[in-house]
């Protein structure tokens, strides 16, 4: 009980500190002109209808590459530490009817939604990271339903590696054409069309496949390593 009271006290104090910080901040009063500049110019310069995407991939592409590297390192470390099968682990028992039927229903739906979010990342809210997580969920849920049938880890690793290489290769191609690293190529196209904004959809597809394969591999490793506790 003492422990729980301590946690509640900590949470209350933390909330108070956050409130004090936030109360002193001027909201809705940005002093930086770069935001307005980007809002005015991004649609014409980059050609992506979703301005967030033009910032994430065109203006700040190398940040996204760093984000991918951090995610890769974190997933690798997590898999190394927690991904080994526990001692005496036996495969989980098959799931019940509801989870199996639900997995069969959800798998195609999640694939379509994930690919839609990735491929329309330059038009509507969404993009590679969000769609990649949805794709990963699509491949993990069948594993929960049928613990014996696991997708090949080699195939997932190959997809992840190829997608990451494609992202960097697209950036290097811009260097070949005397542009900055990861600068959008191939022209802007018509604003709002599916094929527009140059190489941005290619970059987002690479991000989506990489994130999806990475997280699916990590989560499947976790589920494999876990056995029901011997109680």
């Amino acid at each position: 009980m003492l422990n729980r009271t301590g946690s509640l006290l900590f949470a209350g104090g933390f909330a108070f500190l956050l409130f004090v910080l936030v109360a002193g901040l001027p909201f809705g009063d940005p002093s930086m002109p770069v935001g307005h500049h980007v809002l005015d110019e991004a649609a014409d310069v980059v050609g992506a209808a979703n301005i967030v995407t033009s910032i994430v991939l065109a203006y700040r592409g190398i940040d996204t590459l760093g984000e991918l590297s951090i995610l890769f390192a974190a997933a690798m470390a997590g898999g190394l530490i927690l991904g080994h099968p526990a001692g005496g682990a036996k495969p989980a028992p098959p799931a019940g009817f509801i989870l199996r039927a639900g997995a069969d229903l959800l798998f195609p739906l999640l694939i379509v939604v994930g690919l839609y979010i990735i491929l329309h990342g330059h038009l509507t809210p969404g993009g590679g990271f969000q769609g990649g997580v949805v794709l990963a969920a699509a491949f993990v849920i069948p594993v929960l339903a049928r613990p014996g049938q696991v997708p090949s880890h080699t195939a997932l690793a190959v997809v992840e590696g190829l997608a990451g290489a494609a992202f960097i290769a697209t950036g290097l191609a811009a260097l070949y054409y005397d542009r900055e690293f990861l600068a959008p190529l191939l022209g802007q196209g018509r604003l709002g069309a599916l094929v527009s904004a140059g190489t941005l959809p290619i970059l987002y597809l690479a991000v989506g496949l990489k994130v999806g394969a990475e997280l699916a591999g990590l989560l499947i490793r976790f589920t494999e390593a876990d056995a029901p506790p011997p109680r």
């Binding site: 729980r4 509640l8 997580v133 990963a136 993990v140 390593a225």
Partner: protein, 91 residues
Amino acid sequence: MTMAWIIVLMVVLMLASAVAALVLRNFLGAVAATSVVSLGVSVLFVLLRAPDVALTEAAVGAGLGGFLLALALQRLGLWRLEVQEAAGDAE
């Protein structure tokens, strides 16, 4: 005005779930409560016209985060439902 009420509702829901995550004795329920906090944040992001961030929060915070925490519970041997506890007591 409607928006203010939705925001108040979401904040109250999030605070209640956060306290529930601390207080609940069932670890699985606590994990579900943290997911509810993330869902509330994603609704707030939509109201603030940041649908990209809302999508990320819903997919990563509510979905993936909850799933990872649940797997960690299983790994630590803390994954217990009330039904299983009752069955364990009966043995």
